[in-house]
């Protein structure tokens, strides 16, 4: 098997383990390239259908292209789509820097959805290579009752045995593409012909490497107008993927604080 085949097989294995071991699951759909790959892998794991809903925690501030994508593919992929609007900015920790505070609305929206639906497992499309604190994640990552992440007390994962017993009232984050890289995501998107939002491709010398809220996400300089060119570009670049995501860079620990309180 080739590298993409290995990655795919591992992700499918993780999806099936979670589905076998947890009762109320949902897949967090951010509409971005990673969560689209995740949906694709889930359809492979379950032979075409998603046996759980997809949840879009909606800040209301995504790019119009993202909403159009959501409406189209929720239908075409036959998804059971749940949309959870986020509370206003006033409901969020005022000590966070402005962009992080804005992003933290998503954490609050997620808490509302958890309370409403009682999920015990959420598939999240984070990857270890994205960001240093995500590198510390487990595949099955236990969260506290409040959704918090205790990085100091993570249980061990031996081989492909995962901890799948969240305490009463808490939930697990399940990370099926934790072991993928940005380049892997693009190569797989190309191989499988997975649709993408065109904002990822260069227009007038700029493209988005990572998509978030329109007001706190910025494009990078790029000439890549096809996925092949994106892959070539990534092979040469040393610029971090999330460099266009403002909340990561406001303070040394801003993103870590977001994650400890339950951000993806």
């Amino acid at each position: 098997m080739d590298r993409l085949g290995d990655l795919e097989a591992q992700s499918i294995f993780i999806f099936r383990e979670a589905f076998a071991r947890l009762k109320r699951l949902a897949l967090l759909w951010s509409l971005g390239k990673d969560s689209n790959v995740m949906i694709w892998l889930a359809r492979k794991a379950f032979f075409g259908r998603l046996p759980f809903p997809v949840l879009h925690v909606d800040t209301g501030k995504k790019f119009p292209e993202m909403y159009a994508f959501r409406e189209r593919y929720a239908g075409e992929w036959n998804l059971d789509l749940l949309v959870e609007p986020c509370p206003p900015i006033e409901a969020v920790d005022a000590t966070l820097p402005p962009a992080a505070r804005s992003a933290a609305r998503k954490t609050e929206g997620l808490k509302l959805a958890l309370a409403k639906y009682g999920f015990d497992g959420l598939f999240a499309g984070i990857r270890r290579d994205e960001e240093a604190t995500r590198a510390k994640e487990r595949v099955f990552s236990p969260r506290g009752i409040e959704g918090g992440w205790d990085v100091r007390d993570q249980p061990p994962e031996f081989w492909d045995h995962f901890n799948a017993s969240p305490p009463q009232g808490a939930h697990l984050r399940v990370h099926p593409i934790l072991h993928w890289t940005e380049a892997d995501i693009w190569a797989y998107t190309r191989r499988e012909s997975i649709p993408i939002i065109p904002l990822y491709l260069a227009c007038n010398g700029r493209r988005y490497r990572s998509l978030g809220d329109a007001d706190i996400t910025f494009p990078v300089a790029s000439q890549a107008t096809t996925i092949d060119e994106i892959i070539e570009e990534l092979d040469a670049t040393k610029i971090p993927e999330r460099s266009g995501r403002a909340m990561d860079h406001e303070a040394e620990d801003a993103f870590e604080r977001l994650r400890v309180s339950g951000y993806l």
């Binding site: 795919e8 097989a9 294995f13 032979f47 075409g48 240093a132 998107t189 070539e232 610029i239």
Partner: protein, 617 residues
């Protein structure tokens, strides 16, 4: 907006053609793991732009000298405490390979993180401080690499600058660590002297190490390969689930080893039912007639079968020729992570592949601290120690010994849903049913003496062997009445009655009958330990089974052979040495039950003349 991309147009990307090797770097705390990683990233030009400068600036702001390890110690807490908390993963590449570098913390309290990292690794670098030499965590990590099945390993002797780049010091450590690893069955591919902080021996040979002729760290890494799922071994497909989303009944799982093809005859362990592979399912749906017709190790697949045999999560699909074993008792070498040690009698969950079963620690053969050179204990396995233990399972699990198949020969132990240990299956006890647990202390508020004083007898098992039938059950009840009427505490365990509950899951095959006897013997022994006289009417038993019951029940076991000419004899003929023979046809039942009472009196279990506490208990 839909960007359709044709795979045919794809240009081969060099990045994705290079083999990807997952490396774990382990070793004693402060021996320089994170420093080596930082240096490797720098030397191979793998740092994101600005990262080096940013971290230098952070160090300056905090008034600390720059350390290479800051690269990985990205969490606030780590920088504050100066130790690596968890396994980070960082990618880097050489000309020949892509690597995922897994940094593993050296601190003993973070071993669960080291294990999480190392369990995913294809290869390992074990780092040793040239000045400090081999330490307990060096040995412990070496042991864990063996236990986790990491087979490609190299040793890096760091901080050579601290010992003046002296060859003699290097040779001493090289010899010590190599011996330790070889004893574990691990042969290091290289032992490399370096000074990670200054870069000597990392990517380039160093003048200071002119006496060293071997590879640099980068050259050593380039010699590692991805650990591939082995499709040459026999087929092992642990079942993750059976899906019935539509009219197909799809058995889903990942092939751990071997290959499978449409038309193959397969066996489903542990039950052993057979069928043929009808199809290998895939999505997106293939053009009719063009679906996959075979699959091999590493692939996550779904199959359908030609007949509706019972298959469930935890089963293993194999070929008929080389099946896994189905065992209810196994020996394992396990590493234990919980604060509370494992002791005989402890209950835990055993997970092998996708299967799990409740288990009891039946015996602990030995236990060692893998960080120490000797020091063994045998009554318990403490935190961060390794033990060879026997586990009795409540139901048979399909597995292989580790030496036969590493993928289906490893297990994890979980306590209340949290993984608490893991290790290797050394052997599977297939023929023998589990025996009683090794000397489990009975925790009771009442002492044996107090019970004996009240009942005027000690505890005992009276096991009626021979013909099963009305006569045996009648005799058991007559003896029970007799003992009760004299003030005792007898209790009949009748196999036919227990079949409705305790043994309801067991059928009538020889192994199932044997398991039924084992359970009854266990209950009887427990009653006897608590001062009751258990009268067991369990029918025929083989010589081996009888011997085992006697062994399990200890000294207060009395076998009464009940002969009845017209009914089935014991499978192995009459017991060679029962404690009493009763021919049910010869006397009336009162006389027969009196013989049992006499037997117990003679043995000292019963006695009207005795004072409390003097009975055989």
């Amino acid at each position: 907006m839909n960007i359709a991309v044709s795979p045919a147009l794809a240009s081969p990307s060099s990045a994705l053609k290079r083999p990807l090797v997952r490396i774990v770097i382990v070793g004693h705390v402060d021996h320089g793991k994170s420093t080596l990683i930082g240096r490797l990233l720098y030397e191979t030009g793998s740092l994101p732009d600005g990262k080096f400068e940013t971290l230098k600036a952070i160090a300056a702001r905090r008034g600390m000298p720059f350390e290479w390890s800051f690269l990985l110690d990205a969490l606030q807490t780590e920088r504050d405490q100066g130790i690596t908390l968890d396994t980070s993963q960082i990618r880097f590449r050489t000309a020949a390979r892509d690597f995922v570098l897994i940094d593993a913390p050296g601190h003993a309290e973070f071993l669960r993180n080291m294990i999480t990292g190392a369990a995913q690794a294809d290869a390992a670098l074990l780092i040793v401080d040239a000045a400090e030499g081999v330490r307990d965590q060096t040995r412990r990590h070496g042991y864990l690499l063996h236990l986790l099945g990491v087979r490609q390993i190299a040793v890096v002797i760091n901080k050579m600058d601290r010992v003046g780049f002296e060859e003699a010091r290097f040779r001493d450590i090289e010899s010590e660590i190599s011996t330790h690893l070889v004893n574990l069955g691990l042969t290091p591919v290289a032992v490399v002297p370096v000074s990670a902080r200054d870069g000597d021996g990392v990517a380039q040979a160093s003048e200071a190490l002119a006496w060293y002729r071997g590879p640099t760290v980068v050259e050593t890494l380039d010699g590692f390969s991805p650990a591939r799922a082995d499709d040459e071994l026999a087929l092992r497909l642990p079942v993750q689930a059976v899906y019935k989303f539509d009219d197909r009944r799809i058995i889903a799982g990942r092939i751990e080893t071997g290959r499978i093809a449409v038309g193959d005859e397969i066996v489903v362990a542990p039950a052993g039912r057979t069928a043929r592979v009808k199809s290998i399912e895939s999505w997106p749906e293939p053009v009719a007639g063009q679906g996959p017709c075979e699959a091999s190790a590493g692939q996550s697949i779904g199959i359908t079968l030609d007949s509706e045999i019972f298959v469930a999560r935890g089963d293993i699909v194999s070929t008929a020729a080389v099946r896994p074993k189905a065992a209810q008792r196994l020996r394992a070498r396990v590493f234990w992570l919980n604060e509370a040690p494992i002791t005989p009698g402890a209950g835990l969950n055993v997970r092998i592949g996708t299967a799990e079963a409740r288990g009891t620690v039946a015996a602990i053969e030995n236990a060692v601290d893998p960080g120490q050179l000797s020091a063994t204990e045998a009554r318990s396995v403490a935190q961060n120690h390794v033990g060879e233990i026997e586990i009795a399972l409540t139901r048979p699990l399909a597995a292989d010994p580790y030496a036969i198949n590493a993928r289906t020969g490893r297990l994890v132990l979980d306590l209340n849903g949290r993984i608490s240990g893991g290790g290797l299956v050394l052997s599977l006890d297939v023929d023998e049913r589990p025996r009683a647990v090794q000397s489990v202390p009975v925790h009771s508020a009442v002492t044996a003496q107090e019970r004996a004083a009240r009942h005027e007898h000690g505890g005992a098992v009276v096991w009626l062997t021979g013909a099963e039938g009305a006569d045996m059950a009648k005799l058991a009840r007559a003896a029970e009445r007799r003992l009760f009427d004299r003030g005792g505490a007898p209790m009949v365990l009748d196999r036919a009655a227990l079949q409705a509950g305790l043994n309801a899951d067991l059928g009538d095959t020889p192994p199932e009958r044997s398991e039924a006897l084992r359970r009854i013997a266990h209950v009887a022994a427990h009653l006897a330990e608590n001062g009751f006289i258990a009268i067991v009417a369990a029918g025929p038993a083989s010589t081996a089974e009888r011997a085992r019951m006697r062994e399990d029940s200890g000294k207060s076991f009395y076998e009464v052979h009940v002969a009845a000419a017209r009914e089935t004899a014991d499978r192995d003929g009459p017991s060679p040495a029962p404690d009493l023979r009763i021919d049910t046809g010869r006397h009336d039942i009162e006389t027969d039950s009196l013989q049992i009472e006499h037997l117990l009196e003679t043995a000292g279990v019963l006695g009207t003349e005795r004072q409390g506490g003097e009975f055989a208990i």
